[in-house]
Symmetry: C2
Subunit: 206 residues, 2 copies
Amino acid sequence: MTQLSSQTLQRTVELLSSWPGVGRRTALRYVLYLMRQPPEYLKSLAEALGRLPEEVQTCQLCGNYADAPLCTLCQNAKRSQQKIICVVEDIPALLAIENTGSFQGLYHVLGGCIAPGEGIGPEQLRVRELLDRVKQEGIQEVILAFSPTPEGDTTAFYLHKRLQEFPLRISTLARGIGFGNELEYTDDLTLARSILQRIPYSPMQG
Amino acid sequence: MTQLSSQTLQRTVELLSSWPGVGRRTALRYVLYLMRQPPEYLKSLAEALGRLPEEVQTCQLCGNYADAPLCTLCQNAKRSQQKIICVVEDIPALLAIENTGSFQGLYHVLGGCIAPGEGIGPEQLRVRELLDRVKQEGIQEVILAFSPTPEGDTTAFYLHKRLQEFPLRISTLARGIGFGNELEYTDDLTLARSILQRIPYSPMQG
């Protein structure tokens, strides 16, 4: 790919080329599209991007993205299952489940999965915060909603053990998700079914 | 797709959703990627986008994007075919040709094709500028490099007529079967043309 005739454009193409699934050709296509937009659009976009690091916070309760100390999900008293926490690995997983519209409880973003090989143990994750919430909020059910991967299984197994001391139901997503599939990219129907038909957690099941 | 828990994120997703080939799901994927980047990256990106309307100019000669009154292609005295102008519909077409590395002449971006139905006539395009360049720069060949569409053909036909008064060669892109194309699936028109305009076989040519 040759250099563009404008360094400003070239630099923008390079910045966009690092996006997931975006190569230089797609980045160029985006930049050519941007050049055809009114200056106001570009100003709005630049402002929105510049504000992301400053304005977007982490919800103090669940770990989701938020504009305030609490995210809109944790603030929403209309959600009907306030005593159920769905534990997820990360925010994309949360969004995937929320997008099915099949869950009316709360979430807890763990911030990853246990992966001893990468030096990620329970201390690196928001496990302490989960146990505190379970205790303080009188949670009746915890759904362990991890991807069916070795790390996800390990994490569910660990949390299951830690949650034994509480009088609550521990469930997991119904099988139906193919092995090795990422939660984030699972189709809505399968995901909706797997949360509606969640089953009691059993350490043997994997 | 549900609303995100942060309006700043939601707004960014909406701004990205208008990009070519980008739906809300891809836009969300981009935004989640952006949230994982260091703030410096987002600042750089925001700055680059904000600068596009101010800093990127149109080359006064060829109509390509430029950082200065003349683009780097028009400024480059090392290009060996300074007396040949390749006329293209728009900048993406220019970039596609330039990207082949097979042309060492100058370009002229017409700014569209003649389309009477849409109210686009020669006056709306950079035709006058092309004729001036041909005259002033002593151009010896003009390549009419339009897409093989009715609009492209009309525009080429019109320019051909207007260029008759100058002592120069007028050429167009070779039409035929593309590399890797199956003969069986090539359309009749292309196939007919490629047999009528057949060229001497050369073992080296591939």
